[in-house]
């Protein structure tokens, strides 16, 4: 039984519709700091990646400023993501049932979600997204330090720096691709964004996309009184 599937903050608010708490305020702030720093890193990093995008340094006040800010934003992202990692790694551990789900991943992508096995707090694609992001962010901070000449010039040799800068750019491209798919998926599955804005989803959303998670919450009577209606 996937006891790892529910987080402390998760709770059902009975009513019409049912509302389910998914991310508490701290988790949401943590997420949006990570998101903002990732966007700023992508913009400044892409400026160095290709001359046609160099104009993006203007957003940071110029080339010198973009060069100076980029690694520091990277440090912020690393620690912020570490916060997310600590919050969510358990819920993202692979399970046996994930195999069956993955066999139906095609149906999910086709939009035939009814044919897909029930799943807990995260489906296997979300889990892969989580672990790939974790791996890439570790790769980016390590290769990033290797090319952060202002403070760590002496830590690596020039041949190592060359490899580091190549890997850094490739890892960044991979992370941006995963980020694009992450954002797309959150928009495609309507009703998902409110999980990271208001912190809650509707019961129907949970039933449709993460039924085991909803069932487990219900089984464990993780319910809260509905908020008093406004008078």
């Amino acid at each position: 039984m996937a006891t790892t599937s529910i987080e402390k903050e998760d709770a059902i608010h009975p009513g019409k519709p049912v509302v389910v708490d998914r991310y508490n305020l701290a988790a949401r702030i943590n997420h949006w700091i990570t998101a903002l720093s990732l966007i700023l890193l992508a913009l400044s990093g892409l400026a160095f990646f290709h001359p046609s995008l160099f104009f993006l340094t203007g957003l940071f006040g110029g080339g010198q400023e973009a060069r100076a800010f980029h690694p520091w934003i990277g440090v912020l992202l690393f620690f912020s993501f570490t916060g997310l990692f600590i919050r969510f790694w358990r819920a993202n551990l692979p399970e046996k049932a994930d195999r069956q789900w993955l066999a139906h991943a095609g149906d999910m992508i086709k939009g035939d979600e009814e044919k897909v096995p029930e799943v807990g707090r995260y489906n296997p694609i979300q889990k892969v997204n989580f672990w790939l992001m974790s791996l890439l962010i570790v790769a980016l901070i390590i290769t990033g330090i290797a090319i952060w000449d202002q403070y760590f010039y002496d830590w690596t040799t020039i041949p190592q720096k060359r490899v580091a800068v190549l890997l850094h750019s490739l890892a960044a491209v991979a992370l941006i691709c995963i980020w694009i798919l992450h954002v797309y998926a959150a928009i495609w599955a309507r009703g998902t964004l409110r999980a990271m804005t208001r912190g809650s989803v509707t019961g129907g959303w949970a039933w449709r996309h993460h039924r085991l998670w909803l069932k487990e919450l219900a089984d464990r009577h993780r319910t809260k009184k509905p908020a008093a209606p406004a008078e």
């Binding site: 009975p14 202002q150 060359r162 491209v173 691709c177 039933w207 219900a218 009577h221 319910t223």
Partner: protein, 316 residues
């Protein structure tokens, strides 16, 4: 056609002349393109004859003087190099190597004036992400334009000779300019002017090659059978060349690379990685657009909400 700015003469002009080397002479500009220049300047070169060098460091002094830099005063650690490495304030450095010649048993003191080689195929320029921070003139001089430099250090990764240094003061990269400002007005580089033994000479690349040939012939006649010109083809040749008495093993001259070329890692990073990168990001975005068009949004239905309400009612 105007005369090309160059000099190999011992008495260059002393009257003020307008600079004759500028933007219109650019053949390459980092992270940007330049129109092909209307005139082609005659390629110039500095020839450093290692066999004539006495290690006096007059070239370093002249370089400091002309470029108005202030290398930090360091501590003597028992080496001849002073300062201990190239720095943002020291564009050229005499490197001293003691080498025991296995054939003769002689101890040879190999002194090499290190600094930018002004490659015909400059790795620094290739790596540079800042438009116009590194330029190459049609006479072969590779120059850093500090107002465009962002201090990222990519030039360090691109350079096969470990030359550029980033200043901690203004966060821009520095290296030998081949005295582009002097060459522009018909003067030779400060180091060449100061060299007391004419180990450093400056002129057209063609003339310098001829001069090198005569020197190599002389060295060979005196038993240095491997004497030769260091003008490495891996970087398209250089506009700073060495006459080496042991041209078969340049590494013994304080690690001068035998076959320098822009690292394949740098070429991959600046070449194929860019195409892969844009293709991958484009595909990811296109996949989203296409998927959205084909399947439409994944909406929660009224039925889903009812099922959830039933479940919650049943359990509580």
């Amino acid at each position: 056609m105007e005369p090309s700015p160059r000099t190999a003469t011992s008495n260059p002009p002393v009257a003020a002349v307008p600079a004759n080397l500028g933007e219109r002479d650019l053949v390459r500009r980092s992270a940007s393109s330049v129109p092909s220049p209307e005139r082609q300047l005659e390629p110039v070169a500095k020839l450093i004859d290692v066999s004539k060098c006495i290690g006096c460091k007059a070239c370093q002094s002249a370089c400091i003087e002309w470029n108005d830099t202030n290398p930090a005063i360091e501590t003597n650690v028992g080496l001849y190099e002073n300062p201990h490495d190239l720095t943002p304030d020291m564009f050229t450095l005499m490197r001293f190597a003691e080498w025991e010649n296995p054939q003769t048993g002689n101890l040879e003191w190999l002194i090499r004036k290190d600094g930018c080689m002004h490659c015909a195929d400059p790795g620094c320029l290739k790596a540079c992400p800042a438009p116009g921070a590194i330029v190459q003139y049609s006479n072969g001089i590779v120059d850093f334009i500090h107002e465009n430099c962002i201090g990222c250090g990519y030039c360090i990764k691109g350079c096969p000779f470990n030359i550029p240094r980033i200043s901690k003061v203004d966060h821009t990269a520095y290296k030998c300019t081949l005295c582009s400002d002097r060459v522009a007005v018909g003067q030779g580089p400060a180091c060449a002017k100061a060299c007391p033994t004419h180990a450093i000479t400056f002129g057209t690349k063609e003339d310098m090659k001829k001069l090198a040939d005569s020197r190599i012939e002389d060295l060979k006649s005196r038993g240095f059978e491997n004497a030769g010109l260091y003008d490495p083809p891996g970087v398209g040749g250089t506009h700073v060349m060495y006459v080496l008495h042991h041209n078969d093993q340049p590494e013994i001259y304080s690690g001068l690379p035998k076959d320098p070329r822009v690292s394949p890692v740098v070429n991959a990073w600046k070449g194929v990685a860019k195409y892969i990168g844009f293709a991958a990001m484009g595909l990811a975005a296109a996949a989203g657009v296409l998927h959205s068009a084909l399947t439409g949004p994944n909406r929660v239905t009224r039925e889903d909400e009812e099922k959830a309400e039933d479940l919650v009612k049943e359990k509580t």
